[in-house]
Symmetry: C2
Subunit: 404 residues, 2 copies
């Protein structure tokens, strides 16, 4: 008789966004005259840039013609895209990354869930708290996290690194030594980040401890400050300890297009075993490449027109971020993030829990955000608003909050 992977049964329900959905729907039905503004989910709203639309149309036409039709893509991704990535995301920043260290995928979510597969089940992981839930959940499914304490909302074998206003949202080196360290910087959900110097100290720590850093740079395009690194490979020694995940979702609006990539340097080894070779084997066995047309869209992100158009798109969202930040500060809130990331993280007022503030904001201002406690226990007492709405809605939402 077959048996299932018991680790799945250990996972607590994933209720955050479904609970939000239910509460919003119930409120909307009871109050059909109210116009609800959603600044909750981290999904983009601006259409794809013209340069990308043109590239997609061109690639579609190629697929309809026998001479230019493309079947199976190369495992690692097309050379044209990997070269553009190497040139623009690395060489231009002084990082020497080779094209065969780039693995093109269907998105950073898949990569961040799958990357744990190449590590031993005995390895101990460390995560920032609060953070994107996929890192922990994918390790739960693999059986790497021990037992769950429902009251603390913590796993016995996961090392949590609290990031709160008390430590300026900078993760501290944990007491126990981790084997695999997940860093999402700029961070989702807090919208905060650390300096290049602080990141260098994490690289040094990992190299000394023999740990691997999984560096999720999904929000890199939103960095506005000079002392913040765009890639972990800007730090000395990162190639012997770090894997970097990149997404096209937030810099180019590809949440529904699906494209990402992972960098696994050839210097990253466990004894004689190359992690680059392992990830290549995983890619070749369980994945069949990103769509040709989508890879051409990715290439267009790095064209002169694409870059100019996407710079405007990022600026559009960051104008929203500034409006939220300033609007909340004017209204007396304590606010973080929003400078190097499209997320604003606010301290809930008057000691409200994250969910109490959610209800308050929904009912009093008809604005939807995300309770911070949904991202980890240290998110309790915080609340996330995103800059991905339209400017008009963002301004209107802030107007309402200011009037509370």
């Amino acid at each position: 008789m077959f048996q299932v992977n018991d680790n799945y049964q250990k996972l607590p329900g994933s209720y955050l966004f479904s609970t939000i959905g239910k509460k919003v729907n119930a409120y909307a039905q009871a109050n059909p005259d109210r116009q609800i503004i959603r600044l909750g989910i981290g999904d983009v709203t601006q259409p794809l840039a013209p340069a990308i639309i043109q590239a997609l149309h061109r690639a579609v036409d190629e697929m309809g013609n026998a001479e230019t039709f493309r079947g199976y893509a190369p495992d690692l991704g097309y050379e044209f895209l990997r070269s553009a990535i190497v040139e623009n995301d690395y060489r231009a920043r002084g990082c020497e990354i080779a094209t065969d260290e780039i693995f093109v995928s269907d998105g950073a979510k898949s990569d961040s869930g799958n990357i744990q597969e190449i590590f031993s089940l005995d390895n101990r992981i460390a995560v920032c708290d609060p953070v994107y839930p996929v890192y922990v959940d994918s390790n739960v499914m693999a059986g790497r996290t021990g037992t769950y304490d429902a009251q603390k909302e913590m796993w016995s074998d996961v090392i949590y690194m609290p990031c709160t206003m008390e430590n300026g949202f900078v993760p501290e080196f944990p007491k126990e030594t981790p084997d695999v360290i997940y860093l999402c910087l700029p961070n989702n959900p807090t919208g905060t980040t650390i300096t290049k110097e602080q990141l260098q100290s994490w690289v040094d720590y990992a190299n000394k401890a023999g740990a691997v850093i999984i560096y999720d740079a999904a929000y890199e395009a939103y960095i506005s400050e000079d002392h913040v690194a765009h890639s972990i490979y800007e730090c000395e020694g990162a190639k012997t300890c770090a894997i970097e995940l990149k997404s096209f979702s937030k810099n180019a609006g590809f949440t529904g297009v699906r494209l990402g990539y992972t960098v696994v340097p050839k210097e990253l080894k466990c004894g004689e075993v190359s992690l680059n070779a392992m990830w290549a084997r995983r890619h070749g066995t369980k994945f069949n490449g990103a769509p040709y047309i989508v890879q051409r869209a990715g290439e267009a992100v790095y064209s002169a027109e694409g870059k100019a158009q996407l710079k405007e798109q990022v600026a559009y969202y960051m104008r929203n971020a500034a409006a939220i930040r300033e609007g909340l500060e004017d209204a007396g809130y304590t606010v973080f993030g929003g400078v190097n990331a499209p997320y604003i993280w606010l301290k809930t007022p008057k000691g409200m829990t994250s969910w109490e503030f959610f209800d308050y904001l929904l009912e009093q201002a008809n604005v939807v955000g995300t309770p911070g406690s949904g991202f980890g226990p240290s998110g309790e007492g915080y609340f996330r608003l995103t800059a991905f709405g339209s400017y008009e809605n963002t301004v209107a939402a802030l107007e309402r909050i200011r009037k509370l």
Copy 2:
């Protein structure tokens, strides 16, 4: 100090297609005047059908417009595509499958590699021999296959079900009881299949043994005989024991477009645990949906124009299959497959090994095929040719083989 997943190191090198590539390149360089015809890899060559191209262009335009732009897709896939699948692939064949039993993905290769994750590491898998290598390799990576015998090319904990001319390529119930049974029907690489009645006996066997069948129906569109099932759910009782994988690669030429789906019936349970819920959780945690534009292309596969155009495309390839079959038979070869699948499986002549015949065919006829031994030990002494070339090339290749 971090450690890697040791199971990866147990995998023997994956040399089949790279060795073919090297041999072909060496021959081509030494004989620049010879025109080589490739009937080796299972990749399509016909361009996407006009109905699909139109759907792609329409969807691209939607993505360029703020009113019709789509961000994150629903986890399971868009309702429009899942409804079309249910209606055309199931209801039209008398199978009652619900839309929430369909999980749209980026292709059957990903699904066939990932599906093992929801089973216990103690489970014993059974595979046909020869077969598509991903089933075994993905279980090796998970640690489910024991030790490798390099001489026999077999894993100690895998149950092999030889499919050879002696048993008419029909897998027999194994002596040891498996927990998870992989069936790829019509089969890659043999191009053979079994009757609906024989498939029913496998469903009965699985239900009695408490085993799950992973049914890979990637080549379903090529079935031409009435007594062959298009879906395992045509068999009584399949919903309590079978997961079905489907691809758009071969019926619609999507090898470079990437789309597939998996059916996990709600009746499929281990005690109280629903495999449908488990797969939904995996999908929601480690995957972020197939691209919107690609899902619209998938929808067009089921439109009246799409169906008519793809029927022609399949007929085009099957004309090649018939030409290969008949040409080889005329030339005195013993030939299988090619009736319900785009693959022709031939017995190598004069006791040649698969690789000896590969060299012979490359050097004497300048035709490239795939050595059967690359798909499993029982493939030794066989050879695969595919019908996915152009008709002109296929006919020319057969002309050359006939003259040998």
